[in-house]
């Protein structure tokens, strides 16, 4: 249920291939405060493995992943 996640910022990363989604989320997450959430929308299926890998390495948290059709929505909480 995305309704109960308060999104601070939305990043439209549709149509972007590797490495841009990861580059952009790493920049975008720094534009919100620690504890706040960024919603990133991608269409690159590779991000399904890449975003969790990025989150683990950078120390941030993916609260939820939503996949509808070609679109993937990540709710990423800034932890560091």
């Amino acid at each position: 249920m995305s309704e109960d996640i308060k999104v601070e910022k939305v990043l439209d990363l549709k149509g972007l291939p590797c490495p841009m989604p990861v580059v952009k989320i790493s920049k975008g997450i720094k534009e919100v405060e620690i504890g706040q959430v960024v919603e990133a929308i991608t269409t690159d299926p590779g991000t399904l493995t890449d975003f969790p890998a990025w989150a683990r390495t950078s120390g941030n948290e993916i609260l939820k992943t939503d996949q509808t059709g070609d679109e993937i929505k990540f709710y990423v909480k800034r932890k560091v």
Binding site: P17, P19, V22, V23, I25
Partner: protein, 184 residues
């Protein structure tokens, strides 16, 4: 009193050992040698480099041999070269726009097709990758020996904020403490 002195001595020994250990700790760093001058391989290098910055890692790229001419500026014209320098200068790619695929180049047709495909699929070009790398703070070191061998001059290289010229020792110093080392 004797005890205190012994403790002090031991502490000093420990501090000295800590210092030695600190020099050996691996850092969250990627050291890459870009030896190839092929479009596909250089693109892969930049994808890894920019991706690594996104992962919170430090990145250093060493351009040597066939990788060196990629960093030349298309617009800059430099005089005062000897015959061999002029020959190499003319035969090697001048900048990121000039490089070819390592396979299926087919007299330039394959490379042109790949470039148009990359554009269609939104894959960043080498030019864009170099710009992004600069913005992200990727350090570029250029092999001085390759420059000299091919007759390139510093003044003909692209403007890049984190570019330096070096030899093998600089690479080894970085690589020694890097968690990831790649040769491409």
């Amino acid at each position: 009193m004797d005890n205190l002195e012994t403790i002090e001595k031991e502490l000093k020994k420990l501090a000295a050992r800590m210092e030695a250990v600190e020099g050996k700790v691996t850092e969250d760093k990627v050291s890459m040698i870009v030896f190839s001058g092929d479009l596909d391989k250089v693109l892969a290098s930049f994808v890894i480099g920019t991706g690594a910055v996104a992962m919170g890692m430090e990145v250093v790229m060493f351009f040597t041999f066939w990788g060196t001419p990629i960093l030349r500026d298309k617009e800059k014209k430099i005089g005062g070269k000897d015959t061999m320098g002029k020959m190499f200068g003319a035969m090697l790619p001048k900048g990121t726009g000039d490089v070819k695929l390592s396979k299926m180049n087919m007299g330039g047709m394959g490379t042109a097709m790949m470039k148009s495909l990359m554009k269609k699929k939104n894959v960043a070009s080498l030019e864009q990758m170099l710009e992004l790398a600069e913005e992200l703070g990727v350090k570029i070191y250029v092999c001085e020996m390759s420059m000299d061998l091919m007759g390139f001059k510093r003044e003909e290289m692209v403007q890049y904020n984190h570019m330096e010229f070096c030899g093998v020792a600089k690479f080894l110093e970085e690589a020694k403490n890097s968690r990831v080392q790649l040769f491409i």
